[in-house]
Structures are given as C-alpha cells and as structure tokens.
Symmetry: D2
Subunit: 461 residues, 4 copies
C-alpha cells in the first residue's frame, strides 16, 4: 500500500466534505436544501429511490440527512415511522418467488427469492450513504432508533435493514487498530473521555496518566468512514504482575516501570463507542489482536489478563440462598470499608461466592449469568482469579460489592478454550478458582480465617 | 475529517499488511501456511465458518486466500466449484420461513425469511475479508469466476453472493475521485497504461502527454480498500471547441492552451479497471462529478462533451438494408483513407447512417443497440454530433469504419434527460442530428455533394 | 510540492529518530553512549571536530548531546565554559588575514578574512546538528546559556556563534504557519497552554474556547526541524467591532458569531515559545501574514486590530510628574474596581495618560518606552485607541493599572507606516488618540466629566 | 515526531506555494510582478535589503527571483554582476574592526570583526529565501554562476556567500534518506533518469529493473526545502558475491535472488544531482548510512562493495612509461573486444597497471590521481579488487579501457581507514591488490599466462 498516495486520496475526501457542507443551502428551497418536514422527508426519499434519483443522488441524500439532523425528537420518530412503513418488498412478488423456490429449489430460484425478499429500504439506505459523511449520519439514525425505543419493536424492519448493511460495511476486515497517545488529536481524546464506560476518566490529567507513561497504552479501533470517531477501545497497563485492585492501576503515585521490563499486560477497561452499531460484533477478538501486537513489540510480556467488573454479582448474591443473603447484607453494610479486620473476615467468603457466581450461575441457555464473563470466556479467556475488595467506586460497590475479576488470555490456548465454551458452554478456570468452588458455600460469621484465606491466597500461585 | 490522523491510521494498515505478509509460512505446514490443495481449501473454509473460526479468523482467511492465489487454473476452478456446491441456505428452514411468511406477512416473518434465504457463503466471504488485502483477493477471485466462465453459469450462487456483498462494500458513497498526474506514484501510472481500453497508451511519453500539460486531465476513482488500484478512470482534454476526431486530441504537436482559457471539456476515454467488479455500477454518473469539479475549478468551462466510439456501427451497417450494405462496402474498402475526394463523398451518407444507428437502431427492450450510447444517454447526456472520419486506428475502422460521436452533458438538463431515457427510452438529440435523420437513407453513389454535406455541416452550429 | 511523497519522507525521519534513540547505550561505555562528564564532553567535541569525526559524526554528536542532557546545572555550566574557552579562531592567522585585507581589499583577501574570522565552534555546532533531534537540543542549550547568565556575558563567543547559525537555520523562509484547532495533537495543545504568556490559559476548557468556536482562531509558526514545537503563536478573535476590554474576548458566555459575518480580526495575544531563539527575529511581520490569510478566507474582514497590554505604563506613571503621580496613586488604590462612579471619573485622565505614555514617552534612541508599542509600531501598525479599564487581572493591574491598547494594521499602509517608524521613529496614531494628546495633562480630582469623557469617546469614531 | 501533524504542516506549505504562484502578476507592473530588467533587479534588491524591505519581503523576493528566472543568459550574467559588485562589507568599518581586534583580541572585538566582515549580500540572500520555493531558485542561481564561469572567478564574492549559506542550510543533519521505488511519484523517477551520471538509464523499463526487483535498491537523499528533487542518489544491487563487471549487474535476464538471501550489497552508481550545491559536502559518508540501514534490514549482508569506474586510467596509462604506452595502445586498439584470447592475454597487465594507477599515481598533495579513488578511500573504504574487462560502454572504454574497481566498506574499519587516509594519505588495500603491485610493471607481449593470471585470480580470495 502506498501511504503517500493514500494521504492525498483522503485529503481529497476531506476537502470534498468541506465543499459540500460549505455551500449554503438557499432558505426555503426544497430543491437543494435540507428537507423541511417529515412529508418532504418522505417524498424526497421516494425521489432518491426512483430512477431520477440516480442522477442527483448526492444532493438528494444530503438534503434528506440534513433535514433529519435538524428535526426535533418528535419529527425524527415520525421520519423513522415513514422509513418503517414504506419500502417493504413487494408481497405478491415475494410470495411468487417463494412458491417458485418451493416448486424447484435451484440456484436461480434461490437468487430470485433472495432479491424478492430484500426490502427496497436497503437500496434507499445505500443511496443515503452517497451524502458526505453519510455513513456517520446513518449510524446516528440507528442510534436514535435504539434510543427512542430500546427494543426496536416500533421499527423492526428498518432495524433489520440497518443491521444487514452495517454488518457488511463494518466488516472486521475494514477495521484499523491505532494506539491512542498524547500525540493524538485532541478531538479524538475528548471523545475517549466521553466514551469511557468502565472507569470514568475524570479530566485531561487523568487521561494523560492513562496514555502518556511508557507503561500505559490505549488502543482504539477505527473504520475509514468514521475516521476520527473510534468504534471501541481498550486500556492497557503494563505491569510486573496481575493487579488485584483497580486502585493499583489508576493510582496517581504508582511506580512506573519501563515497558520493556513488563511481564504482564492488563486490560483494565473496554468501552464500546457507537451505540448505533449495537449488535455488530466487531469487538469480538480485538483483545487478541492487541495482545499479539504487544507481544511482538515487547517480547518479555508473558501474561495477558484483564481486571474486569462483575456487574451482576450483587443482585445475584442478594437473591441467592440463605447463607449468601447474610453475606450480601454484610457486604452491603460496608463496615468493612473502614474496618480492615472486618474486611479480612469477609474476604474469603465473598471471593468464594464470586467464584460460584462466575462459574456456576447460568442463564437458561447455559451461558454464565455475568455478561462480562460471557464476553471474555466467549473470547477464549479463562477465569483466573477473583479479587475482593478491588474497586471502591460507588458503581462497583452497588453492582458487585467491589469485587473484580482477572480473566487470562493464553494466546496458545484461546482457540481451544473458545471452542469448548462455544460448543459446550464450558467455563475454563484456573486451579485456584476451582479450589474455591469446592469450599463450603456458607459463610461462618467468624470464619476460621486460616482455611478460607488460604484458599483465596492459593489463587496467587 | 482529520487528515493527519487518518494518515497515521492508514500507515498502520500498511505496516500490518507488511507484517502479516512478511512472516514466512513454514513449508508443508497446514496450520499457519497457505492451504495446499482444494480439499484443504474446502476444509479450511469449513473451519473458518465454524465457531472455532471466530477465534482465528485472520490466519485462516489468509491461509485460504494465499492457497487460492498459488493454485493453477484447474485447481482454482475446482475451488470455485467447492464454494458453489457448499454453503447453500438450509432448504428446509427456508421453506418453513417462506410458509410462515405466506401465512402471515409481518416484519418478523419477513426478517426470518430474509435471514433464512441468505446463503452461508455470504458469511464465509465476509470472514475471508479478514485477511490482509482480503478485499483485493476476493475481487480477483470473482474476476476468475467471470473469466473462466463468462456467463457465470457454472457458479451462479457464488456470483450472486459476490455481487450482493460487493454492492454494499463498493457503495458509491465510499469511492474517492483523484486527479492522476505526473506526480502520481509510478505503479499507479503503470496500471493506467495497462487498463486504458479505448485509445491505447503507447508508452510513458504518451501517458505523460495525457496527464502533464495544463490542458489535459485524468481522473481516477478509488476505493479505500483497493487503495492504489483504480476502479475506473476518465481522460479529459480541455479545448476551445468540441473535437471532431481523436487525432486532434492526441496529436503530439497540438497547440496547448491554458486551462483557464478552455471553454470545453472533452471526455475522450473512459476505462473500467476491475473485471471482478463487473456489474457493480459505481461508474454511473462519475462523469457528472468530474464535470462539476472542473466547472468549479475553471468557471470558463461551458461545454462538457465526449468523443466516443460507436463500437457496433460496422456490424449494424453491414447487416442493414440494401443501400447501407453498399455504403458499408465502400467504407470497408477504405479507398477514402488515401483519397480525400472519396472521403468527402462518403462522409454525408456515413454520418447520416451513424445518426440512424445511434438514434433508431434498438434492442428488443427499446434501448439503443450501441452500448456506448446506452451508457451516455443513460447518464443524461444527449446525442450531439456524429463525426466521420474521426478515428483511423485499426480497431475503430473495424468496429465503426472510423466513426466517432460527441455526447453532450448539459449539467442543468441531466436529470430530465436521464428520466426521459429511463422511463421512455427516449433518445434526446441535438437539432443537427435530428435533421440528419430526416434525410433519405440511401446513399447516392455520386452524391450531390452540396446537399448532404450541408446537413452534416449544420451539426457544427 | 508533492505532499504524499513528503509525508513518506518525514515518516522516514521519524522512524530513524526512534531507531537511534531506541538503541540502548551500554552502561559505562564511553565509546557509543552518552558522554559521562565534562572532561569527556570536551574531548568528544575535539574528536567530532577532527578528521576522524567526519566518519562517525552522527554517533559522536548524539553522545555529546545526550551527555549534556543528563548533566546537572553545574555540569552544564562547565560544559558551556568548555565550549566558550576552546574553538576560537587562530589569532595569528586572523591577524595575518586582516593585514592582507588592509594591504589589498579584494574579493580574495576578504574571503580569506571571513574564513579566518569564523570560529571553529561554528563548525562544531554544525556537526552537533547531525544527531537526531540535534537542532532542538542545540536550541535548548542556548536556552540554558541565556537562563544561566541572562546577559550571556559569561559565554559571549558561544552565544554569537549560536545566533549566527540560528539566523541561517531559522530563516523566515523556512517557517510554516498552521492553524491550531481542536483537531491538533494534544501534545502541541499542551505546549500552547504552557507557552501562553499574555492571558493565561487556565485549563483545557479555556483552551477549547479559544480554538474551537468558529469565531476564534489560533495560528502557530513552526519550523520543519522542530516540528511539533511552535516558535510563536497568535490568538485571534473574529468580532463585529474592536473590543475595548479583554473580558469581552474571553467571556465564557459571550455571543458567538459566524466567522463569515465578522468584520474585525482582533489579535489579542502573541507569545514567543522558544527562549533559546531569543533575538532571532522570525516573529516580525507574522501578524501581517495571518491578516492576509484571514482576509483571503473571510473577505468581509476589514479591520485588523490588536488588544494589547502596555506593560510599562504603571512604572512610568508612578515616576512621572506630580499630577500623574496622584493619578497613579488613585489608580493603584483600586477603589474604582468596585465603584463605577470612581472608575468613570478616573477613566478620561488615565486614558489620556496612556496616550502620552505610548506616544511621547521615549527611550534614549527615540523609540517608545513601551516594548509592545515598539513591536507593533515597528511592524507598521498605528496606535489606534486606549482602553481603560480593560484588563482586571492581577498582572495587568500591577503593570498597567488595567489599561489596554488597540493597534491597527491597515494592510495597505503597513509599509509606509513601517518606514516612517523605522527611519524617523515616528509614531503614527489615529485622530482620536491625537486629540487625547492635546488635552491638559493634569487630572482634575473631580473632572468636568463631559469634556474629557467626550475626548475618550471620540476615539470610537 | 508527529508525522500526521507534519503532513498537515507541509500541506500548508504546498498550498501557500500554489497560492502565491497562482496569482497572476499584472503585465508590465513593476509593483507586484516580476522585475523586468537588470536595472530594476538591482533596485529591487536594494529595497529588499532596506528597512522598507522588512515589511514586504515575501513579495519583493518573489518579484526578484521571478524576474531572474525570466531573464536570458546575458541578463542573468548582468544580474550576477550586479550582485557581485554591490553589497560588499563597509571597508572602513571592517578595517576599524580589524584594528580593534589587533589591539585587543577579545570575544567582543572578535564578534565585531566577524559582523563587519560579513557581506550585506548574505543578508540579501537570506531575504531572497523568503519567496516561495526561494531555496530552489537560489540553488539554480548558483548553478548559473558555476555554469557561466566554471572557475567562478567572475563572481568570487557572490560564490563565497552562496557557499557559506548553503553550508548552513544544507547541513547534513537536515538531509533525509529515502528509498526510491516503483511506488515513488513519477516526476521524481523522471528526475532520477535524467540525473543518472554513471550508467545511463535508457528508459522507464531500464529504471524499473533497477528499482522494482527485490534485489535492487535505489536510495536518494533529500532536503525538506527541495522536497521532490534529490540531492544525490546511490544504486545498489544485492547479490551473492561482488560483481566483476557492470554487465552482471544490469543484464536484463540475470537471475534474481531474494533480498534476504543476499550476502553482498554492491554500490554500482552514485550521482550528484544539484550542480548548484557543488562543494557542499553532504555526499560524504552517505554510503555508510545506506550500508548501516541495509545491514539492519537484511542481517545476512556481510560485504559492502562498490563497482566503480576509474575515469583517469586511460589518460594516465597513455602518459606513463614506455611499456605502459604499448599496453595503452593494445587496450585502445580494441582487438580484445572480439578476440577473447587477446583479452585473456591483456588482462593481467591491464589489471596490474590499474592497481598501480589507483594505489601509486598521486597528485602533488599526495592524494590519488583518480577522483573516484579519492572519494571512496576518503570515506574509509579499501581498494579491494581491479576488474578488466568490466564495462564495455563507449564512455568507460574511452576513459578507462573498460576497467572497473571494487572498493570495500568494512563497517568496523571505516573510521580507522578514514583516519589513516586523512592524516597520511595512506591507501589501504586488499592483499590481492598488494600482490599485483609487486609484479613486474612491463607487459610481456605474450605473457606466460599462468603467472600473472594467477595474481589476478588471487584477488577473488
């Protein structure tokens, strides 16, 4: 690939975008300006889909998307209604194609059926994409669709068409991973601050501590059509050992190490950025790519672990059997926050309960109850270690009594782990976690500290 | 858009590509290297589509595409067979979904039917795209498919799936227009020389004459995933008037003019570059974009015309009514090539016959017989002028007795022209061409020169 | 110029820099690592200047500059001493060349004299520049030289050689102006925050307000060898009229206007960034370039004015004649800060005193006492208007009782103004300012408000 | 360094260049257009140097350089005369400064003397550099100066000032090495074809054979201010052994090898590109940089040798002692070109004579007579092997009877070799070459083939 030429190419894109946007639309003109209302929105969509639309697609698409952008919520919902209600496939033709396929299942009848089943809305969306920055506008439109009606039950046809096209457009082969550093443009860093969904970035100094030191990394995944807006990003700490609390990672006064000396890469935060791309699975396995890239740059790295939340733990524990409820109550009361003896006393039972929650609490489909566990185990990681107390933030206390989890990515075992999980919902875990599961589930109010503490400490092996 | 950041982004892509390609695959290793034979090609595709494939998609996709690249023609055809034969939708499930839709045509049943109708091959192709340079490899694979069996009758399912995905991936909204100049990287210029399909570029000096002078332009259209390989390009001459022969345009010793003084932009050559994207209509209306861009840069430009071939004229004329056959014979004999009196005598009748061919000779669907006419009229151009003799090259003599055509793009009338053609197959033409059609169709062997010559010369008005 | 190629070129530079820096220097090795002490610093400089130094210049230069970087202040001063003491021209040879020139002033004897007069230190500095990032390191070295001994009296020879080379290297023809925006890399923005010397940038939000809105601009001037470190920058507000106080410009809740509607560009802050380039006059006339660029982009702009401090006003006023001292006292007491009647009463006299200070208070060389006045008048601006109270910040109160000044750049008169000032130290001023000078200089404690206020308000005409 | 930001920076430069150049100068206008004649050239230079020139430097400089560009040769020479005759230092002041220094040699008097000795022409040239592309125009001006009067005796002062400034501006620390490949912009490749001075590049196919195969490299050295115009370039062949003739290197049908398998890098052509930079020694040691870079990329490389011409060999041999003259005559007659027995007979004596020429023929200053030998030995290479017949081109036959030389760069010995040569003019050579020098110098007409051939073949060891 010729980067110099590509730069010029994209310079062209950028300039064209400015040109089109820079030309003021005449006031009150429906011909070339933004559409003014939902009626005109709908009629301009009709024109865009018509033969005449082929000749003036860019202008029509820009007009429609600019109009939508200027609508208020009520108008936007009506515009989505308009897209949902119209542009279905021709039912007669589709039934005929289905009959023909039933009569004779050939490549030809299948192809006819596929064409007949495709809604005209897909072609409309493809044409809307002609507008400068059209892709971003369409992603925002789906974000509205999901936000206005989380189940998307009001616009199921439109949502299905968005998903189908986005699955092609945002094919993982088109994504690009980039390190985000202190040299990254400020508008992108500003978005990172806003998008961070796990451990809030409080201000620019906090951000800087996460991206500038030699032992901290942040990788974003981008798509050429949304160039300065990341799709997902992960934050990484390079350390000498797996951390047992988020405080270790984010402390302002921590000791830094040279990246080349680190043995462990800790993925301590992963955030999706584009609500409008929900359900498009580009995030799957990106950790693997980051791990491989880091390994190539820093051959001393041996351990790739996460420091992850367990968002459903508190709810599960509170709803569990008798003994756990008293444990939940003790954890919720929070005396342990200021009384380290109490914390030491609680730790073994909470850690053991965490192990049961993550390894044994299941949904009806046999997958773990915890969504973060599903994500990492589904990626081929193993359940490596349970830490408590590990995150004193309000959110983490509320959702998990401050419990955090290390999942481990063993690059050589990812495929087998993934397959075992995918086929049999098997939760692969470290021997330390396995030992925790053999312990008695109830919590002695005054535990014989040595025994359970030993089990917990064995995790460190 | 932030071009600086984007450059870095794409630098990353380029480097990753080199990394993956640079790592040598161990000899004889099927695990990480290129697949060795069609059997392994097929089984690796199966793995890529399986759950396990999710975890190692990039390596598997690279292995499959590298293997295909190294296959000979026979193996490639067998590999295409393998893709065609497998990966169909589940017929039972599809019939059930069709029945459910027939019973109750709702958004839900439609969506189920659409999903059931989609072949698993589409997901396979999406995953193959994970390989570095995967998109280019897939386009080459479809080029094989079309080349090995021009009707694509041997692989209809595979071709339909390629078309469906390419239509999304190569959405016109993703294409970028770039001026190709003497400062463009040599590898891209080398491709332009090879791709030129209308007026052969003989060598680098010939190319330079077409791109370096101020009154010559060449625009290519690119896609970010095929970055240094154009999809289509157009060659433009900036002149003081519409040319009547290709010699005027390409002459080495022509008088140059300052671009700012030109009133006319002549599109004298349009070439598609990617055989594997045949039928994906990104070329439609690109002339319009070039015309608009030129108009913005050079406000003195008023006329946008082509100088186009008429590739079916000779065949049509030879197969036409009695009188035309003798005309065809006289044109074919070629005495006029050295005898200007003979040429003057032949001109009016040949020009009039050209007008009839372009305006009145139709296919069964009512569209013009001439493919170039269909292209430009379909774009909203008008049939403006017929020129003879206009192209003395062997190819043009064989296919059109040396006849060439000016189509005119009137930016303000393109939409209406397009619609009239699209709806009613109406051929819009200049009054000069219209007058030619009212002439008597037969050719007097010794024409009363004045009359017909006048008709031909009226075109110049 | 071919930007694509240039990008690749500079990518090469960046990678080379990383390579050289990335290779760890062996501990305690003097051969390839950083020099360890001043003695070795000196001997390695000797080697670099010798013939042998030609063969291994890059490594030697890197070793010397890395050693200097790691020195403490005392070692650095000794290293500067070493550079000062050695590397003088050969006195004998220089005297001989001077004599030869005196005997016969020819091109040849002059050239010999010039060569003999050039210190060997200049060649040493040229060779130190071979190190990666050598230019930046040398600029930092001169910054030390000026910082450690502000008058540079301890190292006059070294300082003269730095100045001579920097004058060539930082030729204004090599500087590049760039708009700094919210899309600029964060490390550069971070430097802008630190370098701002006039109106402190309090945090990232404050910075953002100065660079992101459509009616705010910040332009930096860069040199290719110090690429991400600006040399100087100016902040511009686009407004409907010249502002009379800094509060108008920086207020968080101000009304924004569209840039295209602005008639006035206000240069409200100019900061030099590189202390090590003090005395290299690249800053002269850069305002003119910004003004011309803005005028081209925004043709409605008609007025180019500054809103400038008057840093010597308070000192001058306190040291002035009897009446002014009482004025100074009243201004210093600051009752007017909370009592608007008092402020109204003081304004006319302070504004008139400001006019006298700027227009009539002179240095022995006839130039104005005020350094900011010298800068703008020397650039060809005129003294347009005096504003009080205009800047309530502590610094401005201390140095100028809160007075600020508008200088006006009339693009068509800059050359003449500049010449009048350069040749005759003439202070060109608006008629409003001129009227202020004709007022009686003393301040009535209870002014007949109407009269002087009128004079002040006439300025607005 | 932040490449993305730098790209934007240079984009700015490029656009500014286009802007300034794009604005047409009014015909016959002396105010803003190109100067019309030498008188105006001179007066505009005066203005540019004056105080007024500070305010409008860019326009004045552009006007002067554009005028010079449009001058014919006679006008250009007169313009150079004007620059030579004016702008000398003030003789009185210079003598005074020399006297002051003689009276008291202090840092202060030295500095005054240096300033007094600097011609005002240097400041003029610095200001001319303000024009867009000013640096390139000034380099071209010095090219004229050298071309019009090779000894530069007509313009010694001007030449000295150019040299002084160019030595600073083109400091080796500012140069950038870039691989030139088939992906390089065509305009740069076109310049490579024109600049190649050793082994002519016949056409684009010839060029492509030198830059596209994996075992061929071409490296150019660039300066940011002359971005797409190389200063010097070297051509490299990666091979399995040192070649003994240029035919081996350039043969169209040679066997290619993978770069990673090569053990030897052959520098077979080095060309300076900018005549106007003659005497600015940026070329020195660039081979070392290329060798180091190649070694890093391709660790198997062990031998770095040249295949170099010996341009003075024929003249020297013809002017040598009796025996050599008959050898020269036999070589010149050229019977050996078609008679391989004759060639075999001649080879030992010619190779031995070549060894004597390169190792023993000296200038009065003790350096070798051969300029290429001086270049490589001065770089720290050793004289490794003499090859005959090695270059059948007309030029090589005329200047060296077809003899070529391998110089070897041993990266670990370069410094010592360089020092021995620099201090003592010592020619370091291989043992094989040394043995050749011990042979009897005369040429037996029918040599006892075995003995001398053995000496020649020993070289291969």
């Amino acid at each position: 690939m010729n980067v110099g030429f590509l730069t010029d190419l994209l310079q062209t894109v950028a300039e064209r975008g400015r040109d089109v946007i820079g030309r003021a639309w005449p006031q009150g003109s429906s011909a070339s300006g933004a559409v003014r209302d939902v009626r005109q929105f709908r009629s301009t969509c009709d024109t865009l889909l018509s033969r005449r639309g082929e000749a003036s697609g860019v202008a029509l698409a820009a007009s429609i998307l600019a109009g939508y952008r200027d609508f208020d919520v009520d108008e936007r919902m009506k515009a989505l209604d308009a897209l949902e209600d119209a542009y279905w496939p021709d039912t007669e033709a589709l039934l005929a194609a289905a009959n023909a396929y039933q009569a004779n299942a050939s490549a030809e009848t299948l192809s006819s059926l596929q064409r007949a089943a495709e809604s005209r809305r897909q072609e409309l969306i493809r044409r809307l994409n002609l507008a400068p920055d059209g892709t971003a506008a369409l992603v925002k439109m789906r974000e509205d669709l999901l936000r206005f009606d989380a189940g998307a039950e009001r616009w199921p046809g439109l949502d299905a068409d968005f998903r189908h096209l986005f699955m092609s457009w945002f094919n993982r082969g088109f994504l690009v991973m980039r390190r985000i550093s202190w040299r990254t443009p400020a508008d992108i860093l500003d978005r990172i601050i806003r998008y961070e969904a796990v451990h809030e970035i409080h201000d620019w100094s906090d951000l800087r501590r996460r991206i500038e030191p030699d032992d901290r990394r942040l990788f974003g995944f981008f798509h050429p059509q949304l160039v300065d807006d990341p799709l997902i990003f992960v934050e990484v700490a390079l350390t000498a050992r797996a951390p047992v609390s988020i405080g270790e990672v984010l402390a302002e006064d921590r000791d830094m190490i040279a990246a080349a000396d680190a043995t462990t890469a800790v993925f301590y935060s992963i955030s999706n950025c584009q609500e409008g791309l929900r359900g498009i699975s580009f995030g799957h396995f990106l950790i693997k790519q980051v791990a491989e890239d880091l390994k190539r740059e820093l051959p001393n790295l041996d351990n790739f672990v996460t420091l992850s939340p367990a968002p459903g733990f508190a709810t599960w524990l509170a709803g569990a059997a008798e003994a756990d409820q008293s444990l939940a109550q003790a954890a919720a009361e929070g005396a342990w926050r200021t009384d380290s003896a109490e914390a030491d006393a609680l730790a073994p039972a909470l850690i053991a309960a965490g192990a049961r929650y993550l390894a044994q609490a299941k949904r009806v489909d046999g997958r773990p109850l915890d969504p973060v566990a599903r994500f990492h185990l589904g990626n081929g990681a193993i359940l490596d270690r349970i830490n408590w107390p590990a995150d004193p933030s309000d959110g983490a206390l509320r959702s998990a009594f401050g419990l955090m989890v290390n999942y481990r990515y063993d690059l050589s075992a990812i495929e087998l782990n993934h397959e075992a999980y995918a086929e049999k919902s098997e939760v692969i875990m470290s021997s330390a976690v396995r030992k925790l599961l053999t312990r008695k589930a109830t919590r002695p109010l005054k535990p014989a500290k040595s025994a359970d503490a030993a089990a917990a400490s064995e995790q460190a092996a």
